[in-house]
Amino acid sequence: MLRFIGRRLLESIPVMFIIVTGTFFMQRFVPGGPFTAEKAVTPEVERNLLAYYHLNDPLWKQYTDYLWDLTPKRFHPGALASGLDLKAAFGIDFRPSFKYPNRTVNEIIADKLPVSLELGGWSLGVALLIGLPLGVLAAVKRNSWIDYLCSSFALTGICVPTFVLGPILVLVFAIHFGWFNASGWYGPIDRVLPSLTLGSVYAAYIARLTRGGLLEVLSQDFIRTARAKGASEARVIFRHALRGGLLPVVSFLGPAIAGILTGSFVIETIFQIPGLGREFVNSAFNRDYTLVLGTVILYAGFIIALNLVVDVVQVWLNPKLRFE
């Protein structure tokens, strides 16, 4: 198992290298730059701006300088505890942002990532909390009106995009009833609407997967055996069937977590949440080269790590895979 993990970690280095190189050069070929503004600056001012940010160096030099800044140079993971500082912990320097000159990309990530993670955590909680019971209910009451209700909910949740659901929730609960702020991220109360919006999409998927998984297990022989031995229905469902029925949900959670983390941009905009998803998308519009690279690298790292976790869990759950 350790060899498997080690090999996968080594494999991720060239993947990361390709991502960094591709992003670095692609964004330079896009028209417009960080200083392209409605009121054009004079050539003298532009020269000085480019010099200040070393943008008039040859491109290969900018690239190699940047790669060197990215290379981990030390290993003090303890430093992460006091504020997620990747520079103090590993010597990884994402450099200052172009758009926000008084902040470094390291700082922006350290500020914003916890917010996105918190939003993701709550949303995942909402997704599981709504999705699992609905799925179980639908499977147990198969082909009854309860099943149809739960399945319609799931289908609606999958079909209605977050940018429709979010504003509707705001209109009803914030503007009409006045229970919540329309947007913002101040008190615990501000977590409710965004988590519901982002969580409901995943709740829908989880409900469908749970129903499907559970139905498959319920039709198997050992369930009939359990019933024949006189086990109560609740015991059959929760003790025997649910464990196996949830397997598809578990393997769905890996990509779901990645999706929640990287896909929170819309939610963060609708609710004006100071998270990293918004910075990620806006940095591309602002041609904020360093922030684009920093966030891309971070998200790529997340996806690589989560995929690895899912693979490890699958190998662990399924002994057949261990020898492949």
Partner: protein
């Protein structure tokens, strides 16, 4: 194992979620975001567009930053709250030499920074030295060096000795600025543009080299202010809070205790925040909601003239726009009334010249005049009778405001119907669009210009040969000569008379096709008082208060 753990986590989440919901039901919105403030506290909450880049007046360029910087930094003269004409600020009095080149400002006695340090004329000198430091790469350095004697040479490194630049401080309360040419609108510019504000140089130097932007001096706790407010809190993408500055020279007049600026980069979200009472003023407004507000909340909707023009630029080096008759024909063949009434709906007025009216007492007399018959005649004269043989033309525009496309489609239909010519529309992402426009890589382009300070010069100078913002590369020696002559005019009347001649040339030559003059559309809580419509949407905060 893993299943049980994830289930347990889910139940835990359920319990916390339920308690959150319960808490939510019992609480009224608005309070979490600062709310109305307890005990009659005067708190103004502003929607402020994008997240500010920085709060260093020498390192920023946008309106969101300007809105905050106005609260934090004072200048020699301030804009009057009614019409923005310059009134005494940090300077109590000033004299101008007869040739209009030397301005001597006398600072108020006992001026202090918010940390108690004395504010002297040397702070101005050091700040001006900083903005001219090439390594700082200040976006607006040209607003300074275009006017001050010797400043451009210093900025370009031709002169290393800063004493050659036309700014002097003979004593701590006197500042002398010598200009390279008379600049009749200097005071308006100082009042409204932050490049002239003095910085707390000692504080700036404490946090990094003066010639570098991006040091920590602008963060809450570090930033030292000279204006009516000082920085209390700045959490990026969340809010910026400023509180009353007790060391401000006019602190007695300031009525607000606090101003909170909220980044609001989505029109719909911002309007929701206004409706739930989270903000008192929106930064911008969705045009599709204007009619609803006009009917149901007329006291909250503000439609105010804004000193700006919306127009299409002809690239005069690309056929068929090399021919002035074509430019004129196209300009005459659109129905501007229809565009402002049916599409814009925000009280905009049709534009028949580039200069918006009533700009510091100036209104262009030259107006685009002529009917459809004349447009068709001009087009025929240019060799395209009835639009026959007219080459394909493309409009470059951007789509981050909903109405650009609608206006373009209306004009496309009008030209097709009135002149028989075809226009294709090409929509580009904001920065790509700007890059095409600045690189003159277009045939016909959508553009707009909004003034930084109230003076007609703002609109006229961009048509000078070689101006970086002259995207259509139109050039006219007589126009350039008049612009230069206007700068040296002895009186305002003489200068405006020259501007009239320049506007005449613009109307005759049509380097651009004016479409409408902007209005500023926003929502404002009726409880906000001491707030007057001004042409730049600037509302000096020290006069603002809330009346519940």
């Amino acid at each position: 194992m893993i299943l049980r753990r994830s289930l347990r986590a889910a139940w835990l989440g359920a319990a916390v979620g339920a308690s959150l919901l319960a808490a939510g039901c019992g609480r009224k919105a608005g309070t979490a975001a600062g709310g109305k403030g307890g005990g009659g506290e005067q708190v103004l909450r502003m929607g402020n567009g994008a997240e500010p880049q920085d709060l260093d007046p020498q390192a920023v360029e946008g309106i969101p930053e300007l809105n905050i910087i106005q609260a934090l930094f004072d200048s020699l003269v301030e804009p009057d709250p009614h019409d923005l004409h310059p009134v005494p600020g940090l300077a109590e009095t000033w004299e101008v030499s007869p040739d209009g080149l030397v301005y001597t400002f006398h600072l108020r006695p006992n001026l202090r920074w918010s940390n108690g340090d004395p504010l002297t004329s040397d702070d101005f000198i050091q700040s001006y030295k900083r903005i001219l430091t090439p390594s700082l790469g200040s976006d607006y350095a040209n607003y300074f060096y275009n006017y001050v004697q010797g400043a451009k040479d210093y900025y370009e490194g031709k002169v290393a000795d800063f004493s050659r630049v036309g700014v002097r401080a003979p004593d701590p309360r006197t500042l002398v600025i010598t200009l390279s040419h008379p600049t009749p609108f200097l005071l308006e510019m100082i009042a409204c543009h932050f490049v002239w504000d003095p910085l707390p140089i000692k504080v700036v130097a404490k946090f990094g080299p003066l010639g570098h932007k991006g040091s920590a001096w602008t963060r809450a706790g570090n930033l030292v202010a000279s204006g009516p407010f000082m920085l209390k809190e700045w959490i990026p993408n969340k809010r910026v809070v400023v509180v009353r500055n007790p060391n401000y020279w006019d602190a007695g007049r300031v009525k607000l205790d606090r101003i909170e600026f909220y980044p609001t980069d989505d029109l719909g979200v911002e309007e929701h925040m206004f409706r739930t009472g989270q903000i008192d003023r929106t930064y911008d407004f969705d045009r599709s909601k204007v009619e609803f507000y006009r009917q149901h909340h007329p006291d909250e909707l503000k439609l105010e003239p804004w000193l700006g023009s919306y127009y299409y630029v002809f690239n005069v080096h690309r056929a068929p726009f090399t021919d002035v008759r074509v430019r004129r024909a196209l300009s005459l063949a659109i129905d501007r009334e229809q565009i402002v009434k049916a599409i814009m709906r925000g009280g905009e007025t049709p534009a028949y010249s580039v200069d918006p009216p009533n700009d510091s007492g100036y209104t262009a007399q030259a107006q685009l005049q002529g009917d459809l018959a004349e447009a068709r005649r001009l087009l025929a004269e240019a060799g395209y009778p009835g639009g026959r043989g007219f080459p394909p033309i493309h409009l470059l525009y951007n789509q981050n405001q909903g109405y650009h496309r609608s206006v373009a489609e209306a004009i496309q239909a009008m030209w097709r119907k009135n002149l028989g010519i075809e226009l294709t529309l090409s929509n580009q992402e904001w920065k790509v669009y700007l890059d095409s426009l600045n690189g003159h890589n277009f045939q016909l382009g959508r553009a707009g210009w909004i003034a930084d300070y109230p003076d007609p010069d703002v609109f006229l100078e961009i048509f000078e040969t070689g101006n970086v913002n002259n995207d259509g590369e139109w050039s006219n020696p007589e126009y350039d000569r008049l612009l230069h002559q206007a700068m040296n005019a002895r009186t305002q009347a003489e200068r405006y008379a020259i501007y009239q001649r320049m506007d005449r040339i613009l109307v005759d030559q049509c380097p651009v096709m004016p479409i409408f003059y902007y209005t500023k559309v926003y929502a404002l809580r009726p409880t906000v008082k001491g707030w007057w419509p001004t042409l730049l949407d600037e509302h000096p905060y020290k006069y603002v208060y809330l009346q519940h």
